[in-house]
Amino acid sequence: MLRVEPEILTNYVAKGLVSLAFSPATDFGKPSQLATQTAECAGKQNPIAFWKMHDLLFQQQDQLWNANSDLMVQFAKGLGLDTEALDSCLGDPEIVAKITRRVEERNALGIRNRPSFSVNGKIIAGSLPYPAFAKILDEALKR
């Protein structure tokens, strides 16, 4: 998704035709969990902050393997978020439970490939080039 997301944002989301949601996979254990918790905690402050953090985390993907909460707080600071609130949120059991619930939902849908997508409930496994994505979205819009 990351590679085609800018085009989808410009051509579909900006026009009000598509809304995006993110369902986390935590296949890489602790680092995945920490990044997901950070995005969730940002969202707790403001829904759009979830997406700003989402974008930043993908941009800084290389740093996430050895990341700790200090780096996450730095990210939050860079986005103008309440760093203390974010730091204390990182251990919030409610957030952990929410992530666990969503991972279980993903597993229940039989989604194994990463990334995978759902377009109005139709599952698409694996990454796609933008033209293929656009074709699927255009067909869905005609329905």
Partner: protein
């Protein structure tokens, strides 16, 4: 006889004048051309009065235009990319009423 002849001449002259008399219809045609212009000019005013079923016609006319403009502007100017909402467990980016919901099942790593 002379008198009778002059009467005929006068009659012919009068008849000749009478033949030019039908010109007024031409003038009437001109008026007819002008009139529709006036009517159409009035008809542009008429719609303002048409929704006169409501008490104040001008206010109604403005009210019918204004909301349309507001809706159009709201749709066109909404920055959906920087708009997010909460839907259940999801933070949704974009128009929450968009015809397509695209869920990305991904790992940040």
């Amino acid at each position: 006889m002379k008198l009778k002849l002059s009467w005929v001449v006068v009659s012919l002259l009068l008849a000749a004048c009478g033949s030019t008399a039908p010109q007024p219809p031409a003038t009437a045609t001109v008026i007819a051309v002008v009139q529709p212009t006036e009517v159409s000019a009035m008809s542009t005013v008429a719609p303002t009065d048409t929704p006169a079923s409501s008490p104040t016609a001008p206010a109604t006319a403005e009210a019918t235009v204004a909301p349309t403009v507001v809706v159009t502007e709201a749709t066109a100017s909404t920055d959906w990319v920087n708009t997010a909402s909460v839907d259940g467990d999801f933070y949704v980016r974009g128009n929450p009423s968009a015809p397509i919901r695209l869920i990305d099942f991904s790992d940040f790593l």
